[in-house]
């Protein structure tokens, strides 16, 4: 009687653990994508609301012709939208300040302390390769010459990729330096760095691409050429 009870209980526990593992896998592969997609849409809506309010303010007090330095970004809050045509014509993700685990669940993360969008220095952004909506799933397909377009609500910034994907180790923090040495850039300039993990499901390495600011145009001038079909 008692042996039978023990065997039955152990079997039931094994089946339960198996079911929980299957549920966890489906959570990681599928459910994080569902929650991340809705979180990213929330962030994009927030941005658009913010920008439409700012536009009303801007018409009341027109700024100078020279682009002024943007206000400091608030940690965990969105401040820009990124478009990469190579990753899909409809691919666009919000960019949030800082690279905390919770921030990266809601979009791409801008390394705190690196340059601001379009400014002198290195605008560095990290994103998930897998899980949480797989934003950088097709990262290895990026090639030199590809456009990375960002907007902060007033200006379109078109960056062109110069080097990458470059594989490195997680401790290689030099890649987000203002002038990243391994990128081949020699002089200070307006650069962009994207980082994600490699291999696809691992964390032993990182993939990097570097880009330089190619052109800017005000949003009133319409979408930049890189985003037109």
């Amino acid at each position: 009687m008692s042996v039978r009870l023990i065997v039955r209980t152990v079997s039931e526990l094994c089946i339960t653990v198996g079911v929980v593992i299957i549920l966890f896998v489906s959570y990681v592969l599928f459910w994080t994508g569902v929650t991340a997609d809705s979180a990213m849409n929330d962030q994009i809506e927030q941005l658009q609301r913010q920008w439409s309010q700012a536009a009303v303010g801007a018409t009341a007090a027109p700024g100078g012709s020279s682009p002024k330095k943007p206000a400091p970004y608030v940690p965990g809050r969105p401040f820009a939208l990124m478009y990469i045509p190579r990753l899909g014509f409809t691919w666009n993700k919000p960019v949030l300040e800082d690279t905390a685990v919770d921030t990266l669940k809601k979009g791409l993360g801008h390394y705190a302390g690196t340059a601001q969008l379009g400014q002198e220095g290195n605008f560095a952004v990290a994103g998930h390769r897998r899980t949480y909506g797989d934003p950088f799933k097709d990262f290895p397909t990026l090639r030199p010459g590809d456009a990375v377009v960002l907007t902060d609500g007033t200006t379109w910034f078109t960056y062109r990729i110069d080097k990458g994907p470059y594989k490195t180790v997680p401790t290689d923090i030099e890649v987000i330096d203002p002038v990243p040495r391994k990128s081949g850039y020699q002089d200070p300039g307006r650069y962009l760095t994207l980082t994600t993990c490699d291999p696809e499901w691992g964390h032993s390495h990182r993939l990097i691409v570097w880009a330089h600011l190619d052109s800017t145009q005000p949003v009133e001038a319409g979408k930049p050429a890189a985003l037109r079909r």
Binding site: E12, Y27, V28, Y111, Y132, I176, W201
Partner: protein, 53 residues
């Protein structure tokens, strides 16, 4: 284990089946809402930065 739960649920077989279903759903909810979000960052998929900021 499950037999013990089944015997301690009230009502006839249909009521027991309904309560079992609700219990199972509650467990799945707790797992998805609290347990998995806690466990997921322990996996390597979150390491996408170069300086562990």
């Amino acid at each position: 284990m499950y037999g013990w739960i089944w015997r301690h649920l009230p009502g006839n077989a249909w009521v027991k089946a309904l309560i079992s279903l609700l219990l199972a759903l509650a467990v799945v909810y707790v797992l998805f809402q609290y347990v998995f979000p806690w466990a997921e960052p322990l996996l390597p998929f979150n390491d996408v930065t170069v300086n562990n900021q």
